[in-house]
């Protein structure tokens, strides 16, 4: 993709995917033989050179990697909170529910950023992304606060956008 | 100590089987097709955990490959069914 400078081009995408496949191979088989690993590395990079298209992933930089590293523990904490929330609802005799679908606009512009945002929303307490139209996200919320206006819905995405804006732009 | 570990692992296997029973009940009862598909999705995730436990119990690492393939197939199956329900297939 020639137009946007923020995303990685074809060469960068090939290197990223090739490294990812090699890493998965090493983790999956536990291979330690350098001959074995080098053959797979050549194969992985060759396959990626044929099939991978550029312009999807952001160009990696130090700040982005730092934010991505900080995002993972944040997500783990959110997932644990989500589960304690679900567990406390499920074991009560009558399930406390106040469900509804709310709409919120996101500031993220790239497709991959919106995808990660939607998936993160699905894994966090009481929210499930139902539909994305352009920049508008429709979220099923198990316990709607207030009347489900824009302000309340902003609370859901604000925490993620802080990180994802830097990572995916 | 070894006995305690055995008991804990056995108890977790029993709890996981109870989860399978609940999800299977929803799979049989579910009023709409979407309910059944959601139950199927949950069933496969629980089954992957059970297969991983069995791999540890029998000491056969190859079982984890089975779990991975099972997960991939169930993911593709659920997405295909979702597309069908939407009317896009």
């Amino acid at each position: 993709m020639s137009g946007s400078g923020k995303r990685s081009g074809r060469i960068g995408a090939v290197i990223l995917s090739g490294l990812m496949f090699t890493l998965i191979y090493v983790f999956w088989t536990g291979a330690t033989d350098p001959y074995d690993i080098s053959i797979f590395t050549v194969l992985a990079f060759g396959t990626c050179a044929v099939f991978v298209r550029g312009g999807i992933f952001p160009r990696p930089g130090l700040k982005k990697i730092a934010y991505a590293a900080a995002y993972i523990p944040y997500m783990v904490v959110e997932i644990v909170k989500a589960n304690l929330d679900v567990a406390s609802r499920v074991i009560k005799p009558t399930i406390p529910l106040n469900p509804g679908i709310v709409a919120v606009d996101t500031k993220l512009t790239t497709p991959i950023g919106r995808t990660v945002l939607a998936n993160s929303i699905t894994l966090t307490p009481g929210t499930l992304s139902v539909e994305i139209k352009g920049s508008r996200l429709y979220i099923h919320w198990i316990d709607v606060q207030g009347h489900g206006g824009e302000e309340e819905a902003k609370m859901i995405v604000a925490g993620f956008e802080k990180y994802l804006e830097v990572i995916f732009g | 100590m070894a006995d305690l570990i055995e008991i804990i692992l056995f108890a977790s296997a029993v709890l996981t089987m109870a989860a399978i029973v609940f999800a299977a009940l929803r799979f049989l009862m579910g009023p709409t097709a979407a309910d059944r598909t959601a139950a199927f999705d949950t069933l496969t995730i629980i089954s992957i955990s059970i297969i991983a436990m069995l791999a540890q119990y029998f000491g056969r690492i190859i079982f984890i490959d089975v779990a991975m393939i099972y997960g991939i197939l169930s993911f593709i199956g659920v997405v295909a069914v979702a597309r069908y329900l939407e009317g896009g297939l």
Binding site: L97, V130, S135 | V81
Partner: protein
């Protein structure tokens, strides 16, 4: 060494408790969206804990368990999102007593005003140049 095995077994037990609660939530919740929520979240953390616990219990399995864990964490929300979207377009209503359904309301407004989808199209807006359908270079 024994302590490590005990810790692994306890983590597996915690994971199986979450799996159990996920199954129970799937059975008890009143409508599709709530069921998907309970089913997805609880089983994600449950299987994460089971994999990590088995990896600690049996260190030879740890690296494979990490790949399996990453796979589950990435694909589980995608399939549940696809299911929720499909349920909505298949016409499954929210449970009685729900507060609001903005998606339903805004779709009705779009249909009434006649403008076909003012924001974008149904899919995520991909700003590829026209004619580039993906695939190879």
């Amino acid at each position: 060494m024994e302590i490590l095995r005990l810790a692994g077994a306890i983590i597996v037990f915690i994971g199986s408790v979450f799996l159990f609660l996920g199954g129970l939530g799937l059975l008890r919740m009143p409508d599709v969206y709530n069921r998907i929520q309970a089913g997805t979240k609880a089983t994600t953390l449950g299987s994460m804990c089971v994999f990590i616990g088995l990896g600690i219990y049996h260190p030879a399995l740890l690296s494979r368990m990490l790949v399996l864990l990453a796979f589950i964490v990435i694909t589980n929300p995608i399939s549940s999102h696809a299911l929720a979207r499909a349920a909505h377009f298949a016409g499954v209503k929210l449970v009685k007593g729900s507060v609001c359904d903005r998606l339903e309301v805004e779709e009705a407004e779009d249909a009434a005003s006649g403008s076909p989808d003012p924001i974008g199209n149904d899919t995520i807006n991909d700003d590829r140049p026209a004619g580039d359908l993906g695939g190879g270079g």
